[in-house]
């Protein structure tokens, strides 16, 4: 069944979009991440123009994260204070990111820069995840005692604030910077950034894992809402028909994935997710280095 996407100005098979939504939602439920990092490249792969894929990806991430946020909030796993600090950073970062995106669109390098961002970020995150989970699996055998969190120079900065739920008393500068960084990536890559935010919260900020997922979802919901609004205003590339079709498949898939995820062990899940992330990065890299089917590309003048 073909459906016409009014902003992308093309018609796509609705079942294909529902299927992509379901698959990505299933994986995101399984691994507890938004799945935007898989969605945007897949959309570009099926021929959706990169600006529309990125802008709509951010909007889809918003919808996909809302249900997760509600569930975490019910269980009291959201550190509001930390979330707000992250959101303040995130708003600044995403505003900068959207400006950067507009500039890229004008000089015609959206596809390249989006792909490069994906390759670099996914490559690093994927490699770290795999390494970390392998180390954790080895450590489990030896059962070494672990500290609450590592203290680094980041914790010695001024403007300290108490985050009761996270059991932290740290400077607001690191969370602000983390939030801003994720905001930029969110605008350029059309992702929520959960897969980067979660490790950053654990390893840089030293937050306990119990509140990390809920708090990251909080940040993702608000920042992706901000990106959606800014993209609608600046590039007009948010396609709501595309978003709703993806969400229809996605929310169903996420529930099945989440049910399955509870049966998997933490380290194994993270190793699998890391491998998946690396595979996406490798695929995009392959697309950039192989000769293109046509030496030219055409596009309407933005």
């Amino acid at each position: 069944m073909q459906v016409y996407l009014p902003i992308a100005e093309m018609s796509v098979d609705a079942l294909l979009l529902l299927g992509i939504g379901f698959g990505v939602g299933w994986l995101s439920g399984l691994f507890g991440v938004g799945g935007g990092f898989l969605l945007t490249p897949l959309l570009i792969l099926i021929g959706i123009p990169a600006p529309v894929a990125v802008a709509s990806g951010a909007n889809q991430t918003l919808g996909a994260s809302v249900s997760g946020l509600i569930a975490q909030w019910r269980r009291g796993n959201v550190d509001w204070r930390m979330g707000l600090v992250l959101v303040v950073g995130g708003f600044t970062g995403s505003a900068l990111g959207v400006q950067f995106f507009v500039l890229l669109r004008r000089i015609g390098q959206v596809d390249l820069v989006v792909a490069l961002f994906y390759i670099v970020v996914l490559g690093i995150v994927g490699a770290l995840m795999v390494m970390e989970s392998v180390r954790a699996m080895l450590r489990r055998r030896r059962a070494a005692p672990a500290r609450l969190h590592e203290h680094t120079w980041l914790h010695g900065l001024p403007f300290k604030m108490r985050f009761r739920k996270s059991r932290l008393y740290i400077s607001v500068i690191p969370p602000l910077l983390v939030g801003a960084g994720i905001g930029i990536l969110s605008a350029v890559m059309g992702v929520g950034g959960g897969f980067m935010l979660v490790p950053a919260m654990i390893y840089i900020l030293g937050m306990p894992t119990s509140v990390v997922i809920g708090t990251s979802l909080f940040q993702v919901v608000f920042v992706s809402a901000n990106v959606t609004l800014l993209q609608a205003l600046q590039t007009g590339a948010v396609d709501i028909v595309l978003v709703l079709l993806l969400l229809a498949g996605g929310v169903a898939g996420a529930q099945f994935g989440a049910a399955m995820g509870t049966r998997l062990r933490g380290e194994e899940t993270r190793a699998l997710l890391g491998l998946l992330v690396l595979a996406v990065a490798a695929n995009l890299l392959w697309g950039l280095v192989t000769p293109p089917p046509s030496p030219f590309v055409i596009a309407p003048l933005p």
Partner: protein
């Protein structure tokens, strides 16, 4: 289809009534028939949420029998102009990146030509070029990077997208006088006013032409969404946020498995 046939009849009747009756000694009824009569199967193509492209039928008849050496027919359709950028991919540090670009400020978004024979066989080269009959006769001026390769790439990619169509199927002739041609509009056509021209060629000269128009318009939900997104981006952005959040919440309620 029936409406279009009725319109054709009306056109024929109108032409017959409008023929100069009193000016000259009454001409024979056959002479009152214009050399070329053409009509379109529809004057409006609607882009709905289920739009997958459309076929427009151009049909008509000629005064004399159609055939090589006698009357021949050419049909040309041109869509609204659109500025396009053509970029060459260059290799940079092992990556394929967008390199030099040429901007074509005035490019028809859609172009289709069909004839009982290809235009270059029917008409002298100068006539074909000056009347812009054929993809190689389109006046495509580039700003920025120059070179024939950019123009060739534009032609090639537009053809691949089905937006520029040249002599894919000849104009079909029935019973010697009735002709019809199909204009295939792909799902990616831009909304706007489209101009269709039918030309009658006799002895390698254009002896009659008739211009028709049809509109490609977005309707229904597709039109509403595109309009709001274009004119009220703030409202549209807010609505996107609200709808996505609602869909996410609704989904978690419907599909909860606990």
């Amino acid at each position: 289809m029936r409406r279009a046939a009725a319109r054709l009849a009306a056109v024929l009747l109108g032409a017959w009534l409008a023929a100069p009756a009193g000016a000259q000694p009454p001409p024979a009824p056959a002479r009152a028939v214009p050399a070329l009569v053409t009509e379109l199967s529809q004057r409006r193509v609607e882009i709905t949420t289920g739009f997958t492209g459309a076929d427009i039928l151009v049909f008509g008849s000629t005064e004399r029998p159609i055939g090589e050496g006698s009357d021949e027919v050419l049909v040309v359709a041109v869509g609204p102009p659109q500025p396009m950028v053509v970029r060459r991919k260059v290799r940079l540090l092992g990556f394929w990146v967008n390199g030099p670009a040429a901007t074509f400020p005035e490019v028809p978004g859609f172009y289709a030509i069909a004839g009982t024979r290809p235009a270059w066989q029917m008409l002298p080269e100068e006539a074909r070029q000056s009347n812009r009959l054929g993809l190689d006769a389109l006046p495509l001026r580039a700003v920025g990077a120059q070179g024939p390769a950019f123009r060739a790439a534009l032609l090639e990619l537009k053809k691949d997208a089905g937006l520029w169509v040249e002599d894919v199927a000849p104009v079909a002739v029935t019973g010697g006088r009735l002709f019809h041609a199909r204009l295939p509009l792909p799902a990616t056509v831009t909304p706007g006013a489209y101009r269709v021209e039918a030309l009658l060629v006799r002895d390698r000269r254009i002896v009659a032409r008739q211009e028709l128009e049809f509109d490609v318009v977005r309707v229904g939900a597709a039109a509403g969404i595109a309009n709001v997104a274009d004119r009220r981006p703030m409202l549209y952005g807010m609505a996107c946020i609200a709808l996505a959040a609602l869909a996410g919440w609704l989904g978690s309620v419907l599909f909860r498995r606990s």
